[in-house]
């Protein structure tokens, strides 16, 4: 096995063994740093196209290049003329033809690796003051790294996207003044908001096992003063998975709860959403 094959394999192995307990944002930085070490580059960075006006430097080594803003348009033109393939600059072009002149200062050669992902495309840029050999094995290594980097970028971007969604919806659902309880039909997962956790006497909001939620709901129901009427309604409600109910009065000792129970049916998820709001006495 050649040195460059070994390095490509090393990159795949090390990024495959990355500690998934660490925050995902460090995965890409770790991977780019690894590419820099394996290729003995003097600089390595990600350039992310954030919008039509912004291409921003990230995960840069050296660090001082981070957060620099470049104009995306001339860079996109260059990528387009090169068919979005890896660009190998054995010699860095003169400043007027070099759209990366501000980040490739005092370097003699560079490689620009386009990595197309959604929502934002990126480039990985490597630069050397002493040019590497650009032998076939080296080029193959770079192309292997490119494929693996795309997987890493997709994984990082997706996870960050989902984390943002989770944070946003949790914030919204915890702010709603009603107690919300969702019980998934899969039997393995359920969720309560802050008010729901307080109403059911649970240790905290968020993910809960359906068995825990069902037990807590039963205890709440057993505290009602109109249990027989509730049971009659419940028999009707659960006779069909499509049935729903709202303004269902649960008479507690010192208050009335107005309860809604709605089926939730989408392609990805099905279950029941319980909504408890305080009603008049």
């Amino acid at each position: 096995m050649s040195t460059w094959e070994h390095k490509a394999l090393n990159f795949i192995n090390q990024t495959g063994r990355w500690d998934k307990d660490k925050h995902i944002s460090s995965f890409l930085a770790f991977s780019i740093s690894l590419v820099k070490n394996l290729t003995e580059a003097d600089i390595a960075l990600q350039l992310e196209f954030e919008d039509e006006e912004t291409a921003k430097v990230k995960c840069a080594s050296p660090l001082h290049l981070n957060d620099m803003v470049l104009n995306p348009e001339p860079i996109k033109k260059l990528l387009y003329t090169q068919g979005f393939k890896t660009i190998y600059w054995r010699e860095i072009p003169p400043p007027k033809e070099n759209v990366f002149k501000e980040i490739l200062l005092a370097l003699s050669s560079a490689i620009i690796i386009p990595v197309n992902t959604s929502p934002n495309n990126s480039l990985l840029i490597l630069g050397w003051s002493e040019p590497p050999s650009f032998e076939p094995g080296f080029l193959e290594c770079i192309e292997t790294i490119r494929l693996r980097l795309k997987e890493i970028l997709v994984q990082s971007q997706q996870q960050i996207y989902f984390q943002r969604i989770a944070v946003r919806f949790a914030a919204i659902l915890h702010t709603i003044p009603h107690a919300l309880v969702f019980i998934n039909n899969d039997g393995f997962s359920g969720w309560v908001n802050q008010e729901g956790a307080a109403l059911l006497g649970l240790s905290g909001p968020g993910e809960q096992l359906p068995a825990v939620l069902s037990d807590a709901m039963m205890q709440l129901r057993n505290k009602t003063l109109n249990l027989e009427a509730i049971d009659r309604e419940a028999m009707h409600l659960f006779s069909s998975p499509e049935n729903s109910i709202s303004n269902w009065r649960w008479q507690m000792e010192n208050k009335v709860l107005l309860v809604s129970c709605l089926p939730v049916t989408t392609q990805q998820i099905s279950g029941r959403l319980w909504i408890f709001e305080n009603g008049d006495q």
């Binding site: 954030e50 919008d51 039509e52 006006e53 912004t54 921003k56 001082h64 957060d67 620099m68 803003v69 470049l70 104009n71 501000e102 200062l105």
Partner: protein, 266 residues
């Protein structure tokens, strides 16, 4: 996008002069804030004026929350302007936050700027007790500032314009500042203000290799005197001069003092 339109660029003065003065305004005002300073340099210098994107008459369509979430986006704009106009022998006069923009441009694009004037600038507005740094603001003050901006931007602008401008004997100055503040879209003003008040470019100061003039303002709500001293102490080739006028906008309240300071440096 056309850079001339994007930044509402105006080139005046001696167009044949090999030397250029680029004036960059700070937050809440525009290029007209230098109108009383410009005449003193028109004979000897090509003069370039522009509006920062998000303010003045810059093209509002060019505003990108991503590009301008920190000063690096504005620094790229300055580099675009200097390259597009093929400017040489550039002295960059940056008021307030634009001083930091000019500084970043000089670091990221070596050779583009020859001299730098920092007029009422600060590398960090937030105090940093850990490092013994006084920026003038603590977290609680900034939180209240942004709460006030978000609650009622126009009411905030009316109040802030007075304390930032000072010169109570000339209320028309604060009124004019309030008007330019009110002309900014509130969501943009709040984003830009946050980017400014939470910036920290202290580590960049030693990287500046140009001759730098630090113009220190007096009784300035945004920049205490110790900040100017900090700039002078940390920028290798810098010297500091004071202007004897109160407030954050000496180019408006005491233009001839600013002219004298710049002339002493050129």
């Amino acid at each position: 996008m056309d850079i001339i339109l994007r930044n509402n660029i105006h080139v005046t003065g001696n167009l044949e002069s090999p030397q250029t003065l680029v004036f960059a305004h700070g937050f809440g005002i525009d290029q007209t804030s230098f109108s009383k300073v410009i005449p003193s340099f028109e004979h000897d210098y090509k003069i370039v004026l522009f509006d920062n994107v998000g303010g003045g008459k810059a093209n509002i369509k060019a505003y990108s929350p991503k590009r301008y979430e920190a000063m690096n986006g504005y620094a790229t704009d300055v580099a675009d302007i200097i390259q597009a106009l093929d400017l040489r022998q550039v002295t960059f006069v940056g008021h307030s936050v634009s001083g930091m923009t000019g500084m970043l441009t000089s670091i990221h694009y070596p050779g583009m700027i020859d001299k730098l004037v920092l007029l009422g600038s600060s590398p960090r507005y937030l105090n940093d007790p850990k490092d013994g740094y006084t920026g003038g603001f603590d977290h609680a003050t900034l939180t209240s500032l942004f709460e006030a901006m978000e609650a009622n931007y126009h009411a905030w602008a009316a109040g802030f314009s007075k304390v930032a401008m000072r010169n109570e004997d000339r209320p028309e100055l604060a009124a004019a500042f309030a008007k330019t503040l009110n002309d900014i879209r509130p969501d943009i003003a709040i984003q830009v203000a946050k980017a400014i008040f939470y910036l920290d470019y202290r580590k960049e100061l030693p990287k500046v290799t140009l001759p730098v003039l630090v113009v220190q303002t007096a009784n300035d709500i945004a920049v205490p005197a110790v900040v100017s001293e900090y700039l002078e102490a940390n920028i290798p080739n810098s010297r500091r001069t004071k202007v004897e006028t109160e407030g954050h906008f000496p180019q408006i309240s005491a233009p001839m003092e600013v002219v004298a300071a710049i002339q002493s440096f050129l």
